[in-house]
């Protein structure tokens, strides 16, 4: 890509972390110069092989986001000499390509491809945790325009944070507060054989949790108490691939549409790691039915309290009976 193919459309440049002492959380400010690349053809997919991001054919890739909110070489910051605290936007924002097949999706990908994706997530985690300043590595996928995905080509992202994000901190606090050994281990035991289970493999279980926040929320838990992709044996990785395929395939057949969701992968914090953290995946789909979306509105955003319009057991029932492919 040569310089001429960029059009400079912005000049403001502000990239730093800012601390909110009222809520005790870090905010990422990212208004870096927006250099929009020009695509060779108007309708071309920038994520297809040989178009923009990938110069040649590929199987899977992970690459630095063109507009990262965090980077390993963040710009120097001006230290505020006041009550305000800020920090450099150190970290990494990567795009992870699941497959070179433009029209695929987790729900349609063969298990083998999803398995490979799991190995890629593992490798990215192992790679990024080598940097002592990285404290949390978070792979995720936004699928569908309802959750802001602009490209249909199957891909996810990964953020490597230099701090523990707020919701992760509350998970850690909950672990400290929990009187038993591990809340997820106990949930798995409690839900065994119940109607909440959407799919159960040898090593993983997918269920609609008792305390679901979103109408068709599904969690995937490893039955063994493990904290990272790295802890998974090859058979466990295979089984997780099957679980991901089943859940996303069921989502698609639920309303006969490409079901939008946010898929969030929670591993233990790094530097230091935390053995008590139980690896899990959350699917947070915004749809409440075939057409309506449940928005993150005042109550959800302002108080972090969710009102779920669908009884989780009913969601589980629908998902259990939804058809799927392995």
């Amino acid at each position: 890509m040569t310089e001429e193919t960029y059009i400079i459309i912005g000049v403001k440049n502000m990239m730093e972390l800012r601390y909110n002492p009222i809520t005790d959380e870090w905010i990422i400010i990212s208004s870096e110069t927006q250099k929009r690349p020009v695509l060779p053809q108007k309708e071309a997919c920038p994520l297809c092989p040989g178009i923009l991001e990938m110069k040649h054919d590929y199987d899977l890739t992970a690459f630095d986001n063109r507009y990262p909110a965090l980077r390993m070489d963040p710009p120097e910051i001006y230290k505020a000499d006041s009550i305000f605290k800020n920090a450099p936007s150190y970290g990494k924002c990567e795009v992870i390509m699941f497959t070179s097949d433009h029209n695929s999706s987790l729900s349609r990908m063969p298990i083998g491809q999803i398995e490979k994706l799991i190995y890629v997530w593992e490798d990215r985690t192992r790679d990024l945790m080598k940097h002592d300043e990285i404290k949390y590595i978070f792979p995720f996928e936004n699928r569908g325009k309802e959750v802001g995905a602009s490209q249909i080509h199957p891909h996810g992202q990964l953020y490597a944070f230099p701090f523990i994000p707020k919701r992760i901190q509350s998970m850690i606090d909950a672990i400290d507060k929990y009187t038993g050994e591990c809340a997820i281990c106990d949930v798995i035991k409690a839900e065994a054989g119940t109607e909440s289970i959407v799919y159960e493999g040898e090593y993983f279980v997918a269920l609609v949790p008792y305390f679901a926040r979103f109408p068709y929320e599904v969690h995937i838990y490893p039955k063994r108490h493990i904290s990272f992709f790295m802890d998974m044996t090859p058979p466990e990785k295979f089984d997780l691939a099957a679980a991901l395929k089943v859940v996303t395939s069921k989502y698609d057949s639920l309303f006969h549409q490409e079901f939008p969701y946010m898929m969030e992968i929670f591993q233990s914090p790094v530097n230091p790691t935390m053995e008590r953290f139980h690896f899990h995946i959350e699917f947070n789909p915004p749809k409440r039915d075939k057409v309506n979306v449940k928005w993150m509105a005042s109550v959800e955003t302002g108080t972090w309290t969710f009102i779920n319009p669908l009884t989780p057991s009913d969601a589980a029932k629908s998902l259990k009976s939804a058809s799927y492919t392995i």
Binding site: Y119, H256, S323
Partner: protein, 600 residues
Amino acid sequence: MKLFGRPLDYGKRKEKIGFLEFNLSITQKDGYEIEVEIENTENEPKFIKDLKIGEFEVSEKLFMNNYQSWGPCTFVKPQEMIKVMNGLSVNFAASPIPWEFKDGIVSDYFIADDKTFAGFLSSETTHPYFKWHDGIVDVKVYIGKSLKPHEKIKIEPLWVNDFSVLEDALELYANKVGELNMIKRSEPLFGWESWYSYYLNISQDSFLKELEKSSEIGMKYELFQIDDGYEKDVGDWLRTNEKFPEGLDFLSKKIKKSNMIPGIWTAPFSISETSSIFKYHKDFLVKDENGSPIVAYENWNKKIYAVDTSNPDALFWLGEIFSSLKSYGYEFFKIDFLFAGMIPGNRFLNVTPVEAYRMGMKKIADTVGNSHILGCGAPLIPSIGYVNSMRIGSDTSSNWNGTIDIGMPSAKYSIRNALSRNFMNKWWVNDPDCVMARSQDTGLTSKERMVNLYVPALLNGQFLESDFLDKLSDDDLHLMVGAFNFRKGRSNVRFLDGERYVIITKNSINGDIISFVNLSDSDWKDKVENYKNLLDKKVNEFFVLYPSMKNVKNEVKIDPHSVAIVMHRGKRNLRRDDEKEDDGRDIHYYWGEEYDGTKV
């Protein structure tokens, strides 16, 4: 084996029987390779029918093969078979040499008993076969033309060898045949065709409705093919019946618009007694000694005659049909009932039936050029080089039909042949006949449906679906999509017997697979470890049963009429290549095992 009464021995020799002189040459090539040249020593032309060149004693159970697509290829006890055959009239669909069944059983092209394999490596001039009778197998060829005074003719090379594993002998045989014949290389296609839903009731409207539905259901068919039912009559291929008012041109354009390959079915060597081509061109037909056209077979409640493909006018007419279809936009030609082109009889030229057949096939292949030809109802070995893909079994059926194994429509036997003739995929893309995803209007159980859908996927031949698309449920579609991910592998098949098979698949979309196919009526217990070495996988690697995704602890139980699919669940090795984007950003390429290089 004895040739002309003498045991096999390397070298050259001559034999004379009556007015024929045989020049034999036996060389050592993974066993014996035998070439025979025949000379008419008389001073007058002689019509030569079938000739015996040798014989051998065989064990009780034989592995036999029928000459054409639909016929069985399996283990046979001829003592029992001959009783079954007694009273059945053998037609040309079953054999080009039906008279041989009067006192024996024929295996065309190749045969094996429990230790010896014998197979002819081509069929360019003669029809080579083995005839069992009274515990002995005669090695024979049918020539079917007259030799001029002192004319010499070479018969097909014969390969004979002892084996310890029959499947290995078949593999070697397939390679040898492949080396000797010019093979067309093609990729298997995924498509839809009209036969097993509409049969002859297909109409323009219903075809277009299916076309529309195909894009709605999101299956990415590469091919959309109209089967039998559009034509005015068998032989009048370019004229459509009243159900297709806008003609063939119109259909192919519609298919093209949907971004699929337009495909069309014909039976080019067949002419029905009611067709206009029959009315005006009796000169195009193969005739008997009295000059009357020979009925090649009966179907559509009509007598069907055979095209004499040695007749230049008939060949020109054939060429016109296919160049017209091609000019309409068709790029996939399923040509059916091809055996009609190889019936014995009198032809325009003094050629053998096999030579005539190949003239017809060459004409079609030359005319359609790089378009795809799927042969069906076809003599197998004479078709090599002319077809891109080949039906290798009987018509399938929405019923198991597991009793009579004589090439009639059957879900069981069409899959059985797909397994027993899998080795032929070196000669063309094997077509195991259609898959059906439907759960309604089918006599198949859910396990039998798995067999119909998943075995063709695992064998990675042609994958042509035939259903009413709007009648498919989500579960039906998902079952088919699931099967899809077992394609693209390289499979070889192990035979336990005629009803139980193990498919070893490398590098399918879903990875390495071991599948157990039980076509029998009883339970079967087997162990994964018996086949692990065929996949070069370590003993401590784990396996999981599809679609239950439960761990297999070595032992597998396979229900009657079912397939048990065992997926490999070992460690994957990804290769990682680190590169830089032009603006310096990091990019990591990850590659699956099909790529070599640094492992992650």
